[in-house]
Amino acid sequence: MVSLSFLFGVTLFLAVIGFFAGRAKATSSVNGNFRLLQALPKAYGQTVLFSTLIPASLLLFGWAFVVRILGPDFAVLPDFVFQGLVIAIATIGAGVSYHLIKPSHRARAISERWIMGLLIAASALAIVTTIGIVLSMLSESANFFRQHSWTDFFFGAVWAPNFRGGSELSILPLLWGTLYISLISLIVAVPIGLFAAIYMSEYAGTRLRSVAKPAIEILAGIPTIVYGLFALITVGPMLRDFFAQPLGLGSSSSSVMTAGLVMGVMLIPFVSSLSDDIINAVPQAMRDGSLGLGATKSETIRQVVVPAALPGIVGAVLLAASRAIGETMIVVLGAGAAARFDLNPFEAMTTVTVKIVSQLTGDTDFASPETLVAFALGLSLFVITLGLNIVALVIVRKYREQYE
């Protein structure tokens, strides 16, 4: 295929020429007296521009993508026919729209309709992405379940991939590690984030707030690979040397505790900014009423503000949990690779995301269940996080309406 960029360049060139030609034709049709035109001269140019460019490039990129996906055998049209077709459509678009130009032509409305089409297409992309995610994972997961029993995947107890066949691939040990690490991270992040949010919105003076708020926002902007490296080189060895080994709980520097603590730090700003919004949404009148009855500030917060904000806070915790479950780099670098059921938090364990990465990197064979299992894991992860998000969003939204 002659490069797409060349064809697109030709189309673009035609479109730009069309723009100036259309504008010139509109101007000359009224001898330069713009007031006789329905729209500004450039709107006439735009109708030519859009009707040249949009249909032709749709064909161009749509067809190229279809051929890419279905393979070159599907390219039933020879290349030169296809190229001719693109150029022809561009030329027809240019010709017809140029021909239609006359003073009474409603050029502005037409060119705006083209723009509206583009805007709608852009927002439809969100739906296309979701469909793409679901379909791509569904088809590969179906492939996996044809080769591997679904009872073993959902109810087995052992994760032991073996590339010579006979693997046991169960999600349960991975899910256990995921939930254990997420639980520890929430135990760290929720109280700290919540108290920080309360303190900053109810107590802190402007000076402390001007330091603390940006600091916590910076934590939110740090990429997770940085937290991962922090877990790997600092937190992990520290926990091993000062806790795990003296207590006789293990000698691994990657552990549930390492990943959970670091992930907790990552989630602090997330919990704190969500709670901050929610606490601020509680009407001032409720605080004033409580303070007026003689309650202290902390009593007001504990007995009035927090209960009123509770649904929102629960929503925030659920969102944080969904972040923790889907987090990848911290657990890849901090949690280890052993799939096991264990309660010892200083033991290395693994998570769903770690196994997705390890099954899909390196030399992979997309026909073997050991590789395809990653798609089933991904689908499960998607469903779990989506469920948590939807519940959380519903709660948060309902709660917000309550005080609006």
Partner: protein, 446 residues
């Protein structure tokens, strides 16, 4: 009556037990809150100190100045200075010449050692022979002359100058001998071995497992820049268009509701899921090149889009309706109202959101692992080639390079990985500073 009541309630000036308890509870509550804030700040400080203390030394590199002869007999036997013939001389030959040059230099300076020659040669980086070969091939007239050049030293010797290696640990390490450290000290006294700023860390490509001292970020930075260009040129127009439609034109119906819920959910989908999508659709189905910045950029675009749309809509929403009413009142169409009036006023807010979204995309690692950007790449990727198309050549990215280095055995790579993080954080800092500047300078509040 008064006597009775004062007995029961006491003076206002004397706190009774219950008031005391409530006041204490108040103090404790405040203390918890303050502790939480301090823990948050402390976590940030410890994180940054840990990364910086480990990584700042990556910007320094120990080098050794050697004066050596380039014998024609070894490098160009025929003496015709024919490049094709000269290329047949491998780095092994250069390595010998270089090693002998070092031993001669030690003799000249009178530095005595009881090490075997092989161990003396190992002071130099494995990369240095390739460096010498490149220099000679670039300028064949050097053959037969005596040149003075600086070369990289082995990662362990470099570590000695950075405090990572000392004599006690060298006793236990089979990759370095205390005698080599003595030679390094002696050479330092002569001013021939020194540590200086390491521009190669930022510009050079990655190096293999055995030579951490030569590993650089050049390819990764280039790959990240390419991907950010893809994200910027796809996500910015699409994201702005989508938010304009949803905020200004969309009728309130089922479909727009679905799109809206969809976008807020997409923003919360774990990033690794986008990697699976990219692998399944762009690589397995559409057969784009693995590890190419184009695929990486498209995956990051899909991930960033909802994160751009949400702030962009907020920015559009914050433009007061009176602006729209005024424009419509003087006869503008709805499209003109939006593009001539609302959009320019919302632009600073939209751009801030875009920059923050780009920052998130720049630091994202997990989806890129799945589309093969962990590969070992030493060639700088070209932006466009006829074979691979636009951004189609294999590349890595900054955060993936960090991951890559953490997976290697040599402890010197920890320094490299932390150094790479510093570079990444500097990029993020610049982007966020730009966002804050835009917001401060141009944002209008109504």
């Amino acid at each position: 009556m008064t006597a009775h009541s004062t007995k029961k309630h006491g003076s206002l000036l004397v706190k009774d037990a219950r008031t005391q308890r409530r006041n204490n509870a108040e103090l404790w509550f405040r203390a918890y809150g303050l502790t939480a804030v301090i823990v948050g700040i402390l976590a940030l400080v410890v994180l940054l100190v840990s990364i910086f203390s480990n990584g700042i030394s990556a910007f320094q590199q120990t080098k050794l100045m050697i004066t050596l002869e380039l014998p024609e007999a070894k490098l160009d036997q025929k003496g015709q200075r024919d490049l094709d013939v000269m290329k047949k001389v491998t780095t092994i030959a250069y390595s010998k010449i270089l090693g002998n040059g070092l031993i001669d230099q030690l003799d000249r300076l009178g530095i005595a050692t009881d090490l075997k020659d092989k161990d003396v040669r190992e002071i130099l980086s494995k990369e240095s022979a390739a460096t010498l070969r490149d220099v000679v091939l670039a300028d064949p007239s050097l053959i037969g002359t005596t040149v003075t050049m600086e070369f990289l030293v082995n990662g362990r010797i470099d570590g000695y100058f950075k405090g990572r290696v000392d004599r006690a640990s060298a006793e236990l390490d089979k990759n370095v001998k205390p005698g080599q450290l003595d030679i390094a000290d002696a050479l330092t006294e002569h001013g021939l071995m020194y540590t200086q700023f390491n521009l190669d860390f930022i510009l050079a490509p990655d190096a293999s497992d055995q030579r951490p001292e030569a590993a650089g970020l050049g390819v990764a930075i280039l790959g990240s820049i390419y991907m950010m260009l893809v994200v910027l040129f796809v996500a910015l127009p699409v994201g702005v268009a989508a938010s304009i439609y949803l905020e200004e034109f969309a009728p309130k119906n089922r479909l727009t509701d679905v799109i809206e819920v969809n976008i807020s959910n997409l923003a919360a989908v774990p990033s690794i899921v986008y990697g699976i999508l990219g692998l399944a659709i762009f690589i397995n189905m559409a057969q784009f090149n693995q590890s190419s910045p184009l695929v990486g950029g498209l995956v990051l675009t899909l991930m960033t889009l909802p994160r751009i749309i949400i702030p962009a809509r907020a920015a559009l929403k914050s433009v007061p309706p009176s602006i729209r009413d005024a424009a419509l009142g003087v006869g503008a169409s709805r499209m003109q109202t939006v593009f001539h009036h609302v959009l320019p006023l919302a632009a600073p807010g939209i751009l801030t959101g875009v920059i923050i979204g780009l920052g998130q995309a720049l630091g994202e690692t997990a989806p890129l692992l799945l589309i093969g950007m962990v590969a070992f790449v030493r060639e700088y990727p070209a932006a466009f080639t006829a074979d691979a198309g636009l951004f189609g050549e294999a590349s890595t990215a900054l955060p993936v390079q960090v991951f890559n280095w953490t997976q290697r055995a040599d402890p010197a790579f920890v320094e490299r990985a932390s150094g790479a993080i510093i570079v990444l954080l500097v990029f993020l800092l610049i982007m966020n500073a730009l966002a804050i500047f835009l917001r401060r300078r141009y944002e209008r509040r109504w």
